[in-house]
Symmetry: C2
Subunit: 519 residues, 2 copies
C-alpha cells in the first residue's frame, strides 16, 4: 500500500460554504502555495468533513504500520537498514504469516466458484456434496447471485446446529442468526441499532480497556459515549465486578449506558474468562439493565491448561429462565480467527438472543440496504460450522490440519510468554487464548519525557524506535487503551516459530538497549 501524500502546507485560511471566513489557522509564515489556494475552495476539507470520522482511531493499521510499509519499500529500493526484513506482528492475519488454509475449505470454495470442477475426479465426495448444497441454496446456483440479506438459509441452519453442538444442546433458532462481513460488520450493525440520544441521554457503551479498537472507532463514528471499564492486569486481565460497578456508576452521571461489550478470549489481552466471571457479568447485566455484546471470535483459540471457552449464551441458559428469557445478548463469530484464519473472505455471523421482534424487523431492513454479505464468505462460514465429520473422506486430513495449527499456536503462546518474561522490565501475563500477548513494559522517565516532548504516547515512541532499529512492527498499548502510567505493546503469536524466536530475541535486545539508553 502506497501511503497517501500528505500536503506539506497547511491552509492559512478557510472559507466556509456559507461564505463567512474563519480566522487563519496555522502559522502565518507558511507560504500561501497554489495548493493552499486550491484547498480553501474545496467542498470537502479536513475542516468541513464529518468531525466524528476525524475522531476515529485505529491503531492496528495506524502510523506504525504505515511506517512499516514505507520501510519495506525503502528496503526494496536498497536503502541500508540495520535489518533486512520487516517482521509484522501487528495484526491477527494468520495466512499472511504463512499459515496454510484448510484444504477442505478451499476445495469447496473452488468447486463453488467453478462448478465445472464437480465433474473432476480430483475432489473428494464430501467436498463436492458440500459445494452442491451451497450452490443449490444460491440464486441461479451461483455464488454471483445476491443472497437473502440475513444470509443464505441453509448456512444459517448449519450455524444454528453448530451453536447447539457447541453449547451442549441449548437450542438455537436459525432466525436469530445473521451472517455478516466478518465480525466487525455485525458489531457495527448492532451498535448502529443501539446508539441514540444527545447530551445526558446519549447512549453509553461499556468496553474493556484494553480493547480492540474497532469498538472505540465505531463509537466515535456513531457519536456514542465510550464507557471504559478496566481489566485487571494483576489477575491475568480478568473482569472485576467492582470495576464494572464503578465504571457504570461514573457513566450514569453523564450518559445513558445501555450496552456492555466483552471480548472473550480477549483481544489484545489474550485472557480466557472463567465460567464464574461470565456468570457474574450476566447477573450484572440483568440487574443493571444492560444489553450484552459478546465478541467470541477466538472461541477455538484456547491454549492454557485449565482454561476452557464458555459461550455467553450457554452460561446464560444454564442460569435458568430468569436470565435466559430476559437478558438481551448478541454473540459474534468470524471465519478470520481460530484455526482457519481466513480473514480475507470477511465471513462471520451473529446470533441475537431475546431481541424484540420489532427491532429484528428493523435489523433485517437495515442489513437489506447493503444487500448481502459477500457470498464466498458465507460459503466459508458454512464450511467452518459444517466441517468434515468422522467417516467422511476429508475428515482425517481436516482434523490433522486443524490440530496441527492449534497445537502450534499453543506452543507459540507459551514460548512468547516465557521469553518475554525473561526480559527485565517486561511482564507478560499468560497468553491463555486468542492470538496476542500484551506485555507490560517499564519505560525510563527520560524516555517518557522525550516522547511527550515529541507529542507522542511513550509506548508509541518505544514501538516506533523498535521498528526503525529492528524492523519489528508491534502496536503500542496506547492504541488499545491502558491504565494511566502503564505502557504495553500488542504482539501477535502468529509468525512461524523460527521467526517468532528471532523476533522475541530482537525485542529482548531492543528493550535492554532502550532501557540503558534512557536511564
Amino acid at each position: 500500500m502506497k501511503l497517501p501524500q500528505i500536503s506539506s502546507h497547511r491552509r492559512v485560511a478557510c472559507v466556509s460554504l456559507s461564505g463567512v471566513s474563519k480566522p487563519p489557522r496555522g502559522l502565518v509564515q507558511e507560504k500561501m502555495t497554489e495548493n493552499a489556494v486550491f484547498s480553501q475552495n474545496m467542498v470537502l476539507t479536513i475542516d468541513t468533513m464529518n468531525p466524528n470520522v476525524k475522531k476515529v482511531e485505529y491503531a492496528v493499521r495506524g502510523p506504525i504500520v504505515q511506517r512499516a510499509v514505507q520501510i519495506e519499500k525503502e528496503l526494496r529500493e536498497g536503502v541500508k537498514k540495520p535489518f533486512t526484513e520487516v517482521i509484522k506482528a501487528n495484526i491477527g492475519d494468520a495466512h499472511a504469516m504463512g499459515q496454510q488454509p484448510i484444504t477442505f475449505f478451499r476445495q469447496v470454495l473452488a468447486l463453488c466458484s467453478y462448478p465445472e470442477l464437480l465433474k473432476d475426479n480430483m475432489f473428494p465426495e464430501d467436498a463436492k456434496s458440500r459445494a452442491r448444497r451451497i450452490l443449490q441454496a444460491c440464486g441461479g446456483s451461483s455464488l454471483g447471485a445476491y443472497s437473502a440479506s440475513q444470509g443464505i438459509d441453509c448456512v444459517r441452519q448449519d450455524v444454528a446446529r453448530y451453536i447447539e453442538r457447541r453449547d451442549g444442546g441449548v437450542p438455537c433458532d436459525p432466525d436469530n442468526v445473521y451472517l455478516t462481513s466478518g465480525a466487525s460488520d455485525g458489531i457495527v450493525t448492532m451498535l448502529k441499532l443501539l446508539v441514540c440520544g444527545e447530551g445526558a441521554s446519549k447512549t453509553g457503551v461499556m468496553i474493556s480497556i484494553p480493547q480492540y479498537p474497532l469498538y472505540s472507532a465505531a463509537l466515535a463514528e456513531l457519536g456514542a459515549v465510550q464507557v471504559n471499564y478496566y481489566l485487571n492486569e494483576e489477575k491475568c486481565w480478568s473482569m472485576d465486578l467492582s470495576e464494572l460497578e464503578r465504571s457504570l456508576a461514573e457513566a450514569r452521571k453523564h450518559c445513558n449506558p445501555k450496552v456492555l461489550c466483552i471480548i472473550n478470549p480477549g483481544n489484545p489481552t489474550g485472557q480466557v474468562q472463567s465460567r464464574q466471571c461470565i456468570e457474574d457479568v450476566i447477573r450484572f447485566a440483568a440487574k443493571e439493565h444492560l444489553f450484552l455484546m459478546a465478541d467470541e471470535v477466538y472461541q477455538d483459540n484456547v491454549y492454557a491448561e485449565g482454561c476452557q471457552f464458555h459461550s455467553f449464551k450457554k452460561v446464560l441458559f444454564e442460569l435458568g429462565p430468569q436470565y435466559s428469557n430476559t437478558v438481551e445478548l448478541v454473540s459474534f463469530h468470524s471465519t478470520s480467527k481460530c484455526y482457519m484464519g481466513e480473514c480475507g473472505f470477511r465471513g462471520g455471523y451473529m446470533e441475537v438472543i431475546n431481541m424484540d421482534p420489532e427491532v429484528k424487523a428493523q435489523l433485517i431492513k437495515l442489513v437489506s440496504v447493503r444487500l448481502c454479505p459477500a457470498v464466498p464468505g458465507q460459503a466459508l462460514m458454512d464450511m467452518v460450522v459444517n466441517s468434515p465429520q468422522p467417516g467422511e473422506p476429508s475428515y482425517t486430513t481436516f482434523m490433522k490440519e486443524r490440530t496441527a495449527i492449534l497445537s502450534l499456536l499453543a506452543e507459540k503462546a507459551k514460548l512468547t510468554e516465557e521469553i518475554l518474561n525473561t526480559v527485565p522490565g517486561i511482564t507478560c501475563n499468560p497468553v491463555q487464548g486468542a492470538m496476542y500477548s500484551f506485555p507490560n513494559i517499564s519505560l525510563p522517565q527520560k524516555a517518557i519525557k522525550e516522547a511527550k516532548a515529541l507529542g507522542q504516547a511513550p509506548d508509541m515512541f518505544y514501538c516506533m524506535k523498535m521498528l526503525e532499529e529492528t524492523g519489528i512492527c508491534l502496536v503500542p498499548g496506547s492504541g488499545f487503551g491502558q491504565k494511566d502510567g502503564t505502557y504495553h505493546f500488542r504482539m501477535t503469536i502468529l509468525p512461524p516459530t523460527d521467526k517468532l524466536k528471532l523476533l522475541l530475541a530482537k525485542v529482548k535486545e531492543f528493550h535492554q538497549k532502550f532501557t540503558r539508553q534512557y536511564s
Copy 2:
C-alpha cells in the same frame, strides 16, 4: 428467508432506562400479555432504538419482496394460487435470473481459491497467469490474508489502467482508487465523510428522483438532508439544469447542500445521459461548489442507438484544467452489473478526483477500521478490469460470452419497452441502458382511494395486488420516489426471454383487469 415474527401485541407501557415511566402507548384494551410485560423491560425496543435507523427504507427488498418470499413458501407447501411460480423482476440480480458467469472469471477464482489447481492441465494459461499474479499480491499468497485497506496494490493498478483505456488516455493514479464491497460500500463511505452539521448547516445531498433507494437509506441513517431533484420523464428521464437550480435554491433555505449525486446509466429509470448533459452538470457543480458523486455501475449497459456511456471523469478532463483541477468528483463501479452480474462477490471500486490530501488520509483511516473489502471480490474486480486480451487463449470465449450477454440484454430492453407501450394506461420510456424499465402507470381514482384507505401508496397497492394475482414481483415507484400524482413500477429486464415475455403478457393482462375493476 423466513420472515421475522412481528409481535402482535404492542407494548402498553414503556419504562425508560432512567426509571421514568412514559405514558401508555397504544390501545388500553390491548391485553397485557407476557410478551408485553417482557418487552417493556427490554433495553433495545422500537422506542429506544436509533431513530435514524427507523427512518431507513429500502424498497428493493421491502414488503413486496418479503411477501413474494412468503408466497414461494406457500406454493412449496401446496397452497393453491392462480399461478405456479413467483417471477422476481424486483432486483438487478442477473445470475439469479439464469445468466451464466463468465467462464474465465470463475476459472481464475477457482485457481486463486485452491492453488493446487495451478498444477492441473484443465485451465488455460492466461487464467493461470492472472491467478498467480493476484496470489503473489496477497499476504502469504492466500486470498485468506487481509489486503491493504485501500485494496490490493496490483488490482488498483489494473483498475487505473482500465480507467485510462476507457477514458481515452485521461491519466488515472492508482492512489486515487479504493476497492470497495460493491459500489454501495463506497457510496456510504463517501457520504460518511461528507455529512455533518446540525440545523441549517446540516449537509444536504442532492439526489435524483426517481433514485436508487440506497441513497435515501444512507442519508436517513446518517441524518443528512435529502435534497430531491426531479428527472424529466417527458424527455426520457434526462437531467434539467433549471430543475437542478430550483432544487438547490430551495435546499439552501434550510440546509447546506454540498453534494450532487448522479446515477448514469440510470437506476431505476434506464436513461443514458448525453455528453452535453454531463458537461452542464459539471459546470453547475463547479459554479455552485458541489461535490460530485457519479454512480456509474452500469457503464457497459448501454443499448439504445445513438447512446453512449461518457464517464464524468472523462468529460471533466475534456472541459479543461479550470474544471479538471478543481471539481471534486468520485466515481463508483462494481462487479455486480454490466455483463458480469457478479452481485454475490460484492466487488467494486471508487476513484476520487481532486480530493484534499488530508481528507484522503482520513478516508484511508476510516476504511482501515473495517480492515479490507472481501478479497475474492477484489480478485474478481481485477478480472473485470484486466479481462482476456486478443491473442490470449481465453479471449475468444470471453468475448463471445460477453457479447452474447450484452446483446441479449439489449434485445430484452427493446422488447420490454415495446410490449409495455402496447398497454393502454402504461407509458414506458426507452430503456436506453442499465437493467430496468420504469413505466408510468395510470391508476383509476377508485384504486387510489382504496389504497389510501388502507394506508398504502397507490402503486404499492397495485404491485401487491399484481403479486397476489399473478406471482409477478415488481417494486412500486413510490420506493424510488416520483412526482406527486404519478405512479410507476420498476421492472428488471433480466428474466430469460421466454419468461420475460410471459411476465410482460401477465403485466398487460393484469393492468387491463385492474383498470376495469376500479373504473
